[in-house]
Amino acid sequence: MDLRLPSKVLEHIFSFVDSNEDRNSVSLVCKSWFETERLTRKRVFVRNCYAVTPAAVARRFPGMRSLTLKGKPHFADYNLVPDGWGGYAWPWVEAMGEKYPALEELRLKRMVVTDECLEKIAASFKEFKALVLTSCEGFSTDGLAAIAVACSNLRELELRECIVEDLGGDWLSYFPETLTSLVSLDFSCLDSAVKLSDLERLVSRSPHLKSLKLNRAVSLDALGNLLRLAPQLVELGTGSFSDKLNQEAVSKLSQAFSELKELKSLSGLWDVLPEYIPLLYSVCPGLTSLNLSYATVQMPDLVELLSRCSKLEKLWVMDLIEDKGLEAVASSCKELRELRVFPSGADVDETNVAMTEQGLVTVSEACPNLESVLYFCAQFTNAAMVTIAKNRPNLKCFRLCVMEPFAPDHKTQQPLDEGFKAIVESCKDLQRLSVSGLLTDKAFEYIGTHGKKLRMLSIAFAGDSDLMLHHLLSGCESLNKLEIRDCPFGDTALLENAAKLETMRSLWMSSCCVSFGACKLLSQKMPKLNVEVIDEQHLTETGPDSSPVEKIYIYRTLAGPRVDMPEFVWTIHKNPEIGVSHLAIE
C-alpha cells in the first residue's frame, strides 16, 4: 500500500488521537508524522519540571493548549524538602507567555507559584480557561485577584491543598459581572471569608457550574443560599457545618440538599455537628465520592451515613471510623474502589478509638472492586496482610502506614516480611506500594522478586543492610519512583545499580547511609542524571568523602544541571574539579 496522506488529512486523523501514549507512538512512525503530531498536540504532560527545559517543550509543541507540570518530589508532602529547593513555575510561564499565547490550561503540582507568575498568566494568555494548583505555594490572594479580573473565559480555578498568603477575601469580588463561564471553583484551602453576596452573584450567573468547593469560613447558613442557586452541582465541598440553625433554617437546608439531583461528590464538612448529619442523607444514595478527612464524625454517625452510600467508589475518612465503621462500609459500599484512612490523632485511651487491621480485612473481603488502599494504623499483622492479599489480588495501590517505626506484627512479634510478601506475590498488577513496620532484608528480597509491575515504592525506617536496596533496584523492572527515608542503605547498592537510575524518573533518599564520595562518583559516571545533595547543615562539602549526606535527590534529565539551585543544594556541576575518591565502581 503506497500511502501518502497529506498533512491536512493527518491533522484530521490526529484530532481523534488523544491519549499521551498514542500521541507518543504516532510521533515515532516517521518524520512527517512526527512533524504533524508535534504541531497538533494540545495537551502536554511533564512529570518532572527539571527533566526538560521550558524552551524545548515550547519548541516541540507550539500548539500546546494545556500544560501539566510536577515540581517537588513526593516527600515534600512530609516536609522533607527544604524551602527554597526549587520547582518554580515562573520559567515555564515566561517561556509560554512570550511566544505561545494560546495556552489555555495550567495544571501544576508541588510547584512554587508567585503572584508575579499569576499576573503574567493573566496578562499573557487571552484564552486562559483553567488553573489547577495542587500542593503549590508562593502566592497570595492578590495573585488570585489578578486571575479573576483578567481571565474572561475562565472555566476552572482550583486550589487544592495550597499554602496561600491570605490577605483577605476580596479576591473573589474581582470576578467581573460578565464572567459566566465558570465550571469549577475550589478555594477550600483559603482561610479568609469571601464576600457572600459576591459569591452568590457569581454562582447565580454561572449556569455551567458543576463543582464548588468552599472554604471553612462559609457558614452553614450561607450554604443553603448557594445550594439553591446551584442545584446542578456534581461536586460540593461545604464550608463549616456547625452553625446553630433554627428549625426553619434546618428544614430549608434539608430541602436544598434534596434538590441536588446530580451530586456525586461531597467533601468539606468541617466541624460537623452530629445533629446535622441527617441533612446529608438525601444525597448519599447518589454519591460516588466522599471525603471526610476534615470531618470529625464519630463511628455511630459514620455508620448511619455510609450505610446509605451504596454507590460509593471513593472514601477518604479518619480512623474515627473504627473497625465497626469499616464493617458498615463493607456491607453497604460494594462498589468501593479506593479507601484512604487517615490518622485523627485521637488519643486511644481517651476516646477509645478502635481501629485495627481487622477493619481493612473486612473491607477487602466484601468489596470486589477495591484496588487502592491508603491505611494509617497503629499496628498490623502478617495474617491480616495474607488475608487481604488473598481476597484482593486486583489491588493496584497498597500503602500501609503503621505509625510506630519498627513496629512488629503485634500478635506474633515477628517482622512484617511475610505479610508484604503475600501482597506482592498475589497482587500481580500492583503499581504502588508503601511499606512500614519492622522489616528485614527478606521483605525487600520478596518485593524485588515479585514486584514486577511496581512503579512507585515508599520505604521508611526499614532494613538491615545495603542488600535490601540492591534487591529493589535489580529486581523491580518497572520501578519509576523510589523514595526512602531513615534506612541503612548505602553506597554499594547505589553504585552497582547506577544504570538503573536512567530507567527511573527519580530516587529520593534521606537520613540513609550514602556518602558524599559515592554521590560524586555517581555524578561522574552518569552525566545524564542530576545528582542533588541537599545539605542544609553545610557539613558535606567541607567534610571527608566518607561522610553521609542528609538527603539526595537523583533524577534523569534532558535539561542538564538546573540554573536555579539554592546554596544548600550541591551537584557536581558546582565543583567539577573535585577529585574522585578511592571507591571503586563496577
Binding site: M1, D2, L3, L5, P6, K8, V9, H12, I13, F14, S15, F16, V17, S19, N20, E21, D22, N24, S25, V26, S27, L28, V29, C30, K31, W33, F34, V44, F45, V46, R47, A51, V52, A56, V57, R60, R455, N480, R505, R556, T557, L558
Partner: protein
C-alpha cells in the same frame, strides 16, 4: 431514501436540479443538487457558475459511489434542508455510519482522501475517527505495518525521540 428526497425537494419547492459527477475512471453519477452540495468543493463550483457535468479527477468510481451514498444519507444535516431529527433517526444514522466504515483500511484511506478533496465535513470526521481507531493502543512498529509506512528515522534520531518521550513526556502519573 430516494423517495424521501423527492418528497423533500417538492416540499421545499426548490429546483430538483440534477448534477452529473464523473469519476477519474469514467463512471457517471447523476444526483440531486442538494446531495452534491454536501461537498463544499462542489458547492463552490456550482456557486461559481459550473453547470451540468463536474469531473472529479481525484476520485475513482468505486469510491465516488460510496461517497454519494454518504451524502444521500446525511443530506438533511447542516444545510438548507436541516430538520429536527427524531432520536430513532439519529440512532439509525449512527448504525449506518458504523457499517459504512467497516471496510478494509485501503478503502478508508481512499474515502478520507476523497472526503478531504471534496470537503465533506461529516465524512472527514467519520473516516478520520475510523483511521484513528486503527492507531489507538498500537506501537509505532504496528502502525507502520498497518499503514505501509517506512521508518525514515535514523536509529539515533529514533532513540532521541524515544528518550524524550520517556524522560520528559512520560505517559503515566
Amino acid at each position: 431514501m430516494d423517495q424521501n428526497l423527492v418528497d423533500l425537494t417538492e416540499k421545499l419547492s426548490l429546483s430538483s436540479n440534477k448534477i452529473v459527477l464523473t469519476s477519474s475512471d469514467g463512471d457517471s453519477f447523476e444526483i440531486h443538487e442538494a446531495v452534491a452540495r454536501k461537498s463544499q468543493t462542489i458547492a463552490e463550483m456550482l456557486d461559481a457558475g459550473c453547470t451540468g457535468t463536474i469531473p472529479l479527477h481525484n476520485v475513482t468510481g468505486k469510491i465516488l459511489d460510496r461517497v454519494i451514498d454518504y451524502c444521500i444519507t446525511h443530506v438533511k444535516e447542516d444545510g438548507p434542508f436541516e430538520e429536527e431529527e427524531e432520536a430513532e433517526e439519529k440512532e439509525a444514522k449512527k448504525k449506518w455510519d458504523a457499517e459504512f466504515v467497516k471496510v478494509d483500511l485501503e478503502t478508508i484511506f481512499e474515502l478520507i482522501l476523497a472526503a478531504n478533496y471534496l470537503n465533506i465535513k461529516g465524512l472527514i470526521g467519520l473516516t478520520s475517527q475510523a483511521v484513528a481507531d486503527h492507531i489507538k493502543d498500537k506501537t509505532p512498529e504496528d502502525v507502520r505495518e498497518i499503514f505501509g509506512i517506512e521508518n525514515d528515522f535514523t536509529p539515533e534520531e529514533e532513540e532521541a525521540v524515544r528518550n524524550e518521550h520517556a524522560w520528559a513526556f512520560e505517559d503515566s502519573k
